[in-house]
Every structure is written in C-alpha cells, then in structure tokens.
Subunit: 471 residues, 2 copies
C-alpha cells in the first residue's frame, strides 16, 4: 500500500491526538540536520514529523509506517555528529522532545525509569537531588537526550572509569518494526543484574534506531562521589603520556578520567581563557580521581607523584570550583577553536577515532601529517584513558576546495583508525557518515548485523540508510 | 543427511587430528553432568565429545553438525548449575579443556586475548603478574572457565562495583551455526570502546552457546587495586541492611562488595570455623572497599561510621590476611552447610534469585516461610549490593519425598523472584533448568529472543533445549 509524500501527514493526523504532527515545510527544516557536516550538504527532509507524548502514539506511527513501507527515524536533540537522526530516505521523523518524563528515581535500588526524550543534564540534575548520577558524560550533555545516548552507546571523559552508556541500560520498552511492543531486561523487573535469557537490551543499545524504537528506559544510576580532584600534567613528548597512564595502572590506579589536550588544543584554550593557567607542552593530561573527601585528599598526591615521573610540570586542582573551571574550559574547546582560526568553522567529520592507548601518539602524529598533506587545520584532544581521539577539523565551509580536502582528511583519519587497530567511532556512532567503513572494520561480522536487521525489520523501514545494514 | 549415533564419533575422527574425539561410554559419562541437581536426574549423555585445540577444529565439528543436524554443546569446566553445558538432546559436546592459551596480555591497553577454556583463577594469576585482574569473581572461580563465564554472563560479589562479565568482553571470535567464523567488536580492533555498528559481542555474551560458539575472547581487564578492607556488621533486623546500603549510597559510596549472610549462613560458618569470630545477628553484612593504601585507610572508618548507624556491632578487617580469611570462609559456605545438616547434600536448584535490593528482606522472609511450608532446609546468603540472593537448599537426594518437596521449593522461589520484581537468575544462567520461567519473566520479549535464535541457528543445532528458544 504505497502512500504519497503529501498524504503522510494527513493520514498520521487521523491516527493521532491533535497537535502531534508537523508538516509545514519551514517546521520540517530543522529535522533535516544534526551536527554532522554531512547533513548540511545532504539536506534530507522528512515528509512529516511526529512529536509523540506516549508509547501508544509511537506504536500508531510505526504501525502506519509498516503498513505503508514508510521510513521512520527516531530523534532526540539532534546533537549527533553522524546523521544518525536525519531521515536519509525521507519519511517520518519521531521527535522525542515531549517524551521526557522521569517516571521513577529509586536510590535504594540504584535505578531510574525515564522516557528517552529527557535531556542528559536535566536527568542528572534530578538525580543529583537524590545523591545519584548517570555516569556517561558526553560533551553535548547540556542538550543531548538520554534516548540518543542509548541509541549511540554514547560516553565521554568519565568512561575511563565508569564505562559507556551500554553498562547503564538495565531494560527498555521497545516498539518493534511491526508496531508490537516488548520490554527487554524482564517485563516487570527491577533487578540490577540478570543472566536470564538472551540480552536483548544490549542489542538495542547502540543500534541507532535501526532495530526498534525506544520509548522507556530503565537505567542503572550510581551514588555520586562526594569529592574529586584533578592532576594536570604537561609533557614534552606525546609518548610519555602513555607511560604515565601505564604507571598509574601498574600502581593499581584507574583514574576517573584521563583527558588529553594536544599542543594545538592547549593553545586554543589559553587564547580563549588565559587565566586558566594551563601548563604548556607537547601535550597536557588532566587526570581526575574521585571518592570520598578523605580518600581523594589522601590519594591525590600519590597520583601526582606517579604522574610527575614523566611530566615536565604537574599542578593540582583540589577545590571543586577549580575542577569545575577546568572541565568547563575543556567543554568549551569548540568555541575556543573558532578564536584560533577566525573566519573558519569546526566541522564534525572523522572526529571520533578510538585507538589502542599505546597507539595514540603515533595516531596523532600521523593525523597531523595528514592534516598538513591535505592542508586542513586540525586540533586534537580526547578521552586519552580509553583511546578516544577527537579531531577538531576547522575549515571555511564556503570554500569548495577546502571542503574537498576536509573530506579527504576525514576519510584518511577513519582509515588510519582501522589501520592502527582502532575503531572509526569511539562514542559518536556510525549513522550515515561512517556506514562506508563498516565492512573494513567488521569484516564478515557485518553480515550478521545485517541478518539481525533483516529479521527485526524485514521491510527496512527503521532508520534506513544507516550503519550499512541494507547490504 | 541423518547420521546414526554410533557413527558420530567415527565420522568426527575422520575430520579431526588424532586424539580429539572421545566416545568410550565411561569417558562420556562426566559430560552428562554439571553442578545442577537437574543433570543428576536427567542423565543426558552425549554421543561424542570433542576436545579441540584450535578454532579450526571447532569449525570442522560445527560444519559436521550442520550437515548432519547433530546438536553441538560447548562446555567449559562443567561447574554450571543449570544444565547449560549438558547435552539435553544428545549430540556432540565440545570441551574447551585444551583451548586455554593466553595469547596476549597488554597492560597499557587494559586488555588480554585468551581462549575460552582458560580457568578463571589461572587467568587471574597470570594477570596478577602484570598488576591486572579480571573483575567478575564467581564462586566457582578456582575451576570455572572464562568461556563459561562469558556464556552465562557470570559475576560474583564484586559485581556491585565492577559489574558483570558482559562489561569486560570487548570482542570475540565466534563460530556460527553454519561453521563460518566472525570476529565481533572489530575484526582487528584493540579499541577499549566503540560505537561502531551493532554490538554483536553483547548478543553472544550470556547466550549460553545457543547462538554461536566462542573460540577466542578479547577481554577488558583492570588495574588491580593495591589495598582493600572489609567492614563487618551485624544486624538484629534484615530491613536495617537495606538502610545501611542506602546510607552508603547517600554518602556517595559504592562499595566493592556488600555480601549478606543470613542468620543460618552465619551459624553454618561459625560451626565450621569458630575462630572466624563473625558477629552474630539476624544478618551480617561484609562491606568491602578498595583503592590505594592511603585511600582505603583514610575512608574505611568513614564507611564503618555509616554502617554503624544501623548495625548492632561492627568490626574491621584491614590486614590483607584477615580479609583473605573472611573471603575464604565465605567461599566455603557450601562445605559449612554440610556440617550443619549432616547426611544431607546441598543441591543447586532455585539458587540464584536476583531481586531489587529493597525487596531482599521480604524475599528472604517469604523464602524462609516457603522453606518451612515445604519442610526443606535452606540457608540464605548472597551479593546483597546487587540484589542477588543465593538459596542453599539442603536435602537427602535419596529421599524421593524430600526431592519432590525441594522441587516445589525451587519452583516457588523462582516464581517469588518474578513476583517481587526480580529475575530467576542473577548470574548462574538459564540453561535447561530455568527455561520454563522465560515466558513469565520476559513476556513477548521471549519471541524476539526466539527470532534471534532462528536467524542465527535455523536448524536448532546449537545447545538445543535451553533458554526456551525453540518455542
């Protein structure tokens, strides 16, 4: 039963309560984009946008999509950098902007139940009132939704100690491609762990809306550590940063974060906030430890002593205000970049390599060379403690030749990641942008992913054109 | 192409290097059993046992199984408690006893690569030489294999802080039901995290050999904390144990473990090891914290102070020798049980409920009542910090009426777990024993598990009769 583009919205309106469907061309425009450079050029408009307020609304949309073979794409805040929430083949975008209730916060059982549209920062603010937090901490945390984080298996600086979003999803209500609904992780369970049956929850985490649409999440949360402190260390050689991390591991210490700023990132930050007082060097590491007040103040000097073996300078940030200032500055790196390269823009492309920790220095050196070879400005920073290297590519998007060279740079960075034993994306996801690298990274395992897709979404209506799942 | 039972071994011998195939009836007997009470009665003999030395051997066996429709069951050490490694429908058992190499230990990159047959204790001993450890710590750790742990998503006391095996599997080489081989988690990746493609690794973790057979594992490992200490606390009311844990959470403290011994477990241990000096009470908690030497000694009294608010008595074990003595005693609880109930045997049935932490007191009280109603002796203990309650059922297995009552008890315990919002298995797996509870626990999600099974193993040759996947 084919359906014309124009009739999608009107037919959806007939199925849904009032005020759920958008199809004014100007109101559709924002849904053609996310933060990826790809989406700026691809301009993939949806035929209609639905803003559901309940799982039942979502079920109605998906049933309609299934009956008509219409693509349907779940969207959180649109902060993604891979086109994951962009309707690559048109169809319906489901915006979770109004499904942002927190149904339950249960400290004793270390979990909460929330709708996927809740913004990360809002959830954490609510959890904070109970002494809790949701550990994965993406850079886009002030805007991104928890649903988007789950869809992409997002993380951030604290993944070194706390792991990625996957570790914190205990269960999910999922609308399948035929409009039926399951609850993974136990239909009525509030258990914190389970070995029962096949772990479907983790299959949906990171699948970017290609296997099902999440409408309710049961999340593991953690007691919020009472104290933290940061050791800042500057190095005259990138290789010594690897040595420092290994020294910490040898001493039995897994820091909460170990953030890397390469020379260019340090320069950008110091230009933006000269009073930040960052030490200068080939690289700077920010090593954070957490715990109780007594344990942090007892161990921070031990950590500084270990870090100091290879660093040229170390500094301590022990006051919470100083720690917050550091992380706020780190979070503003994109803004800082603009100052170093006036008139240019940071684009998101090839920006999320994750490589073995030991390969970070070689990767950054090689990436700098590729930047020089292509004549494109790049700054490097990242979550050093788990090998996640972000490349901030800065160009004039109106200059077609620079755009072509940036495309080449991004392509070579992705290939470099695979070559050094890494992955094309540590935490941002695959989306449309990185679909082309799936075969090179996964080999025959891609065929198994495609079989999962085929069996759960035989018509291919769920977020088509992503992850190279259609084969 | 059907194949007679008698010819399985001879045909396998023709396909494999010498010395890989067992079919002497007496040598097959051990493979009919694991630690489950079910297997003692079911007596499901394999037609042949293969002891491969390489993935290539496994591929040959699975290809043969696929061509002939013969069931094939992967087996680690056979310490499982659900019949998971028992050939419920006959066929071939693949024992990983000789595939126990550690290919690589890489501290800088916090990972190791090993074959699934390596014994947990052996891997940890090897990792210890590098200052590392594999955190999930099952009670059977001195015997069980890492492959078995991955197949069951095993854990243990330290899952409170460190999570379950699932969190530590970065990738796997998997032989699929048609004998083809994939590598999940990136074909050549050594990355510590990834958002690339669909997460197949986590689909195989916990699937108990029903979706594929693991032949090589890439595991995340952790720096081994330099110090630990245990706060022991006795309570006159089970409910106060929940309060203590919540007090710790409110103070931002997630202990490494919070083990519970109920009154009967304390009595059993004190009968076995009177010099252990456990405090007596309705329940005892063992709260462990870990860190550097300085951080542990700084915070252990803080923890003791919090625990002391609701406990009747607290004690500290700060010396490593004292901590080891405590955990060794806890590990010997099965032996201790035998002393309290002379002439009876601990059976494994209904022994692995996991419920919301807040429901533990009610669950144990109700479980005690069910024990009285059925006239069966039970002791309770468990990983309190994640809601995992173990029930040690003690019977005379030669007494048919007591066996019947134990079956009833186990059945009612499983149903109790679901009723209070828990799961029928926190860490031991589903296997044959708990297949009957899958529908009650998972509802329509079971159908999705079955679709996964169907698409990955259309003939149903991989560990049939488990997890209720055949529908």
């Amino acid at each position: 039963m084919a359906v014309t583009t124009a009739s999608v919205a009107s037919r959806l309106r007939a199925l849904l309560p009032e005020g759920r469907v958008l199809d004014e061309p100007t109101s559709l425009v924002p849904y053609a984009y996310d933060a990826s450079f790809w989406s700026l050029r691809a301009r993939r408009m949806p035929d209609a946008v639905v803003v559901p307020e309940s799982a039942d609304d979502v079920v109605r949309v998906v049933r309609f999509a299934a009956e008509t073979g219409t693509p349907v794409v779940a969207r959180g805040a649109g902060t993604g950098q891979t086109g994951g929430a962009v309707p690559a083949r048109g169809g319906i975008v489901i915006s979770f902007a109004r499904m942002r209730r927190v149904h339950e916060i249960d400290r004793t059982n270390l979990q909460c139940v929330a709708e996927p549209g809740i913004v990360y920062a809002d959830l954490n603010a609510t959890l904070g009132g109970h002494g809790l937090f949701f550990p994965p901490d993406p850079g886009s945390g002030r805007a991104c939704t928890i649903g988007g984080m789950v869809a992409n298996n997002a993380s951030g600086p604290h993944a070194v100690k706390w792991g990625t979003t996957s570790a914190y999803v205990l269960g999910a209500e999922v609308v399948l491609a035929d409009g039926s609904v399951i609850v993974s992780g136990g239909a009525r369970s509030k258990a914190l762990k389970s070995s029962s049956g096949i772990d479907l929850t983790k299959l949906f985490v990171g699948s970017e809306g290609t296997l099902g649409i999440l409408t309710r999440l049961r999340l593991r949360v953690q007691p919020r550590p009472a104290a933290r402190a940061v050791v800042l260390a500057a190095y005259d050689d990138l290789d010594h940063t690897v040595g420092t991390l290994d020294d910490l591991f040898a001493a039995g210490i897994l820091p909460a974060t170990a953030e890397l700023l390469d020379r260019t990132a340090v320069e950008a930050l110091m230009k933006w906030k000269p009073d930040l007082g960052l030490p200068s060097g080939e690289a700077v590491l920010l090593v954070e430890i957490e715990g109780t007040r007594t344990s942090v103040s007892a161990s921070v000097r031990e950590v500084e002593g270990i870090v100091g073996r290879r660093a040229t300078v170390t500094q301590l940030a022990e006051e919470e205000a100083a720690v917050q200032r550091l992380w706020a500055a780190r979070g503003g790196l994109a803004a800082a970049t603009a100052l170093v390269f006036p008139g240019k823009h940071r684009i998101f492309a090839g920006e999320d390599l994750a490589v073995p920790i030991s390969e970070i220095p070689r990767t950054i050196r090689r990436a700098r060379e590729i930047g020089r070879e292509t004549g494109v400005s790049v700054i490097f920073y990242g979550h050093f403690g788990d090998g996640n290297v972000h490349s901030g590519i800065v160009i004039d998007p109106e200059d077609p030749d620079e755009v072509r060279r940036a495309d080449e740079l991004a392509d070579r960075l992705h290939r470099l990641a695979i070559e050094v034993g890494g992955t094309v994306t540590g935490e941002h996801g695959t989306g449309a942008v990185r679909a082309q690298y799936m075969r090179a990274e996964h080999g025959p395992a891609l065929d198994v992913m495609r079989r999962m897709k085929k069996v759960l979404d035989p018509q291919g209506i769920l977020n088509p054109g992503k992850l190279d799942l259609e084969g």
